[in-house]
Symmetry: C2
Subunit: 241 residues, 2 copies
Amino acid sequence: MEKREKLYEGKAKIIYTTDSDNLVIQYFKDDTTAFDGAKKEVLEDKGVINCSISTIIFEYLEKHGIKTHFVERLSPREMLVKKCEIIPVEVVVRNVAAGSFSRRYGVKEGTPLKEPLVEYFYKNDELHDPMVCPNHVYMFGWATREELGFMTKTALEVSELLKKFFDEIDIQLVDFKLEFGRHNGEILLADEITPDACRLWDKSSGEVLDKDRFRKDMGKVVESYKEVYRRIVERYEKVEE
Amino acid sequence: MEKREKLYEGKAKIIYTTDSDNLVIQYFKDDTTAFDGAKKEVLEDKGVINCSISTIIFEYLEKHGIKTHFVERLSPREMLVKKCEIIPVEVVVRNVAAGSFSRRYGVKEGTPLKEPLVEYFYKNDELHDPMVCPNHVYMFGWATREELGFMTKTALEVSELLKKFFDEIDIQLVDFKLEFGRHNGEILLADEITPDACRLWDKSSGEVLDKDRFRKDMGKVVESYKEVYRRIVERYEKVEE
Ligand SMILES: Nc1ncnc2c1ncn2[C@@H]1O[C@H](COP(=O)(O)OP(=O)(O)O)[C@@H](O)[C@H]1O
Ligand SMILES: Nc1ncnc2c1ncn2[C@@H]1O[C@H](COP(=O)(O)OP(=O)(O)O)[C@@H](O)[C@H]1O
Ligand SMILES: [Mg+2]
Ligand SMILES: [Mg+2]
């Protein structure tokens, strides 16, 4: 697979074209941002760890019937993925109250939710990713009822799968964000699944193992991501071999 | 109907019990607030005008098959209504971009929407009425799927009816907010329908005839409400007689 030119550089990743029209390379940078890019730092090795974690999770989800953009890992920071037309709706699934949800609705952080809650946000840094409802998605024409229905159903399936995945390594999956894209008439799970886009709490100690460490200046950001990766490898890579 | 004691005093109205368990009196104050009560003024006559406008609109909606809490007008500022358990979800219908919608999604004020858009907000001043989606409403248990479905359907019917109602008096209905309540196993349209809870623009001049005059310190607030009332009476009360 030949890497050609930069198609898009985002806050945490770069997308490169390849010699196939159907495929792009997703390159994971060490850049780490929060608050829609207002806070920014380079955290050594983060890109490698996130590429590793994302690879294992996409393989796990594919094995359990979820259609993702993942094709194969090419190098420590590079992943070959199916080229998608990204739907500008971030789908968030929450199992426990935290972050903006807690602030918005006055629910104490750590309160378990009665049922997994799906929220939608318009992917737009300038507008600070405002919350939307399905009605907005249809009216603005970002996705059809059928597409959003599929995304919601898939997000809930992913939620169940990831809850189990992390539960096995003594991590509580608090919430996570997904992005979907259109590829050859199908909707695929795209982007990344990493501690940048999930809230992960150690089940025993409650320790935060995700990007909140960066947002809240708690330190040991990459160390925590590495700990998540270490547990994943110990539990999942060993069994496979 | 005997007025008994104050049941609840809100920002713009007071609810009194009566000698019937099923009925309460809704008293319209001159108090006018914005930004969840942060800005506050007493605007002489506003309560009377709003009671008048609400009365005519509830009668009009009832005539067209919408079930409301309205029973009868008792005095210039008082309306007898069916006592409801208010559902803490404000239902907003937008036909044209304005206000918080324009800010949230970067859509220029005055842009017509492709289709009427229904939005939901959690009625909670302390939290500043945060936006919610149907999923939040179900998860928090504020209303069932069936109840919210009925509220949404009714809100869209009310939108069509009010668009016609205001169109006839050369006013563009930009958006409006509804509250619903449970009464004897039914969902009724409750609260008020007035320039405090609608955006109303003169069709010819674009002049603002609603509470935005107060929010934005444009002056002539009650004068504008009176102009809306004058047109309503001229068009609707005369025909009826
Ligand atoms: N399979 C794919 N095809 C095309 N674009 C993708 C794919 N997967 C993810 N993307 C997009 O590539 C970008 C990834 O880089 P990122 O740094 O996360 O960007 P951003 O700052 O926009 O979130 C995102 O805009 C994401 O939506
Ligand atoms: N039919 C009804 N039965 C009981 N309560 C009602 C009814 N109609 C409206 N209400 C409630 O009465 C209050 C009206 O007063 P208002 O000044 O608008 O209060 P608020 O400041 O809470 O919006 C609101 O809380 C409204 O939800
Ligand atoms: Mg991103
Ligand atoms: Mg009110």
